[in-house]
């Protein structure tokens, strides 16, 4: 799958701030295609998990109300420079992607 995740993690004063952007259409399933009048099938991310050195630091459940190309930012205690951060998402159609990065 094409790269869908951009992630930046920065450790400062014992707290790591993670910011992530995911490329995804986030269709609610409630919109109509204006030309054909057909409903656009729902296609949105349901689950986002982020791990720091293999330990889960956030687990999100999302609905169709999260914006297109979702943005997520959160903080956790601990985390050092060059630690590994892994983020994975999965949508309602069973597609998903994951990416690992280093804390800066």
């Amino acid at each position: 799958m094409a790269k869908t995740i951009k992630i930046r993690a920065k450790a400062k004063n014992g707290v790591t701030t993670v910011k992530a952007l995911i490329t995804h259409p986030m269709e609610t399933g409630l919109r109509k295609n204006k030309k054909t009048g057909e409903m656009i099938p729902a296609n949105f991310i349901q689950e986002v998990v982020c791990k720091h050195n293999g330990k889960e630091v956030i687990n999100c459940e999302w609905g169709g109300a999260v914006s297109k190309n979702p943005y997520l930012a959160f903080k956790f205690k601990g985390g050092n420079k060059d630690d590994t951060i892994e983020l994975a998402w999965k949508d309602n159609q069973g597609n998903g992607d994951s990416l690992s990065a280093k804390i800066r």
Binding site: C60, W62, S100
Partner: protein, 156 residues
């Protein structure tokens, strides 16, 4: 090295690469997906949605929860919302948009060590309150903030 031997080496190499790829794929939260709260996310009723996530629709309004969202959102399709609190022992933060067709927008489960400070962007169909429900030490707290939407984000 004969041609056949080279082929063996090549196969071995690609096999190793394949295993590595599978290991990375393991991270996809397939097992957790089964827990995705379909009833709460499709619920049209705000109390039902809250109860579906945290088990109880009754929340205590709290001034310790800060919702950062624009007073007026020009584009309802992209409304940046941040929720933070100075409470201890926060287990989850739930974000709802009161007047959306399905009010529940997102749930953030925070394991110990994660700070109760999350940001994301949500869609809003029309002018409405954004509600944050914080579960801390088993208790439920909530806060709300009105956001005026000039262009809806849920229409066609």
């Amino acid at each position: 090295m004969s041609l056949n031997q080279k082929r063996r080496v090549f196969l071995k190499g690609s096999l190793a690469a394949g295993t590595l790829g599978a290991a990375v794929g393991l991270l996809t939260p397939g097992a957790v997906l089964a827990a995705w709260n379909k009833n709460a996310f499709t619920s049209k009723n705000i109390d039902e949605a809250i109860a579906g996530v945290v088990g109880n629709p009754v929340t205590t309004p709290s001034k310790d929860i800060t919702i950062k969202a624009p007073d007026i959102a020009e584009n309802g399709a992209v409304v940046p919302v941040s929720v933070s609190t100075n409470m201890d022992g926060v287990e989850s933060i739930t974000l709802l948009v009161e007047k959306n067709a399905s009010p529940l927008a997102a749930v953030f489960h925070l394991p110990k060590g994660s700070l109760p400070d999350v940001s994301t962007r949500v869609k809003m169909g029309k002018t409405s309150d954004v509600i944050a429900v914080v579960k801390a030490n088993g208790k439920l707290f909530s806060a709300r903030k009105g956001v005026k939407v000039t262009i809806g984000g849920c229409g066609g």
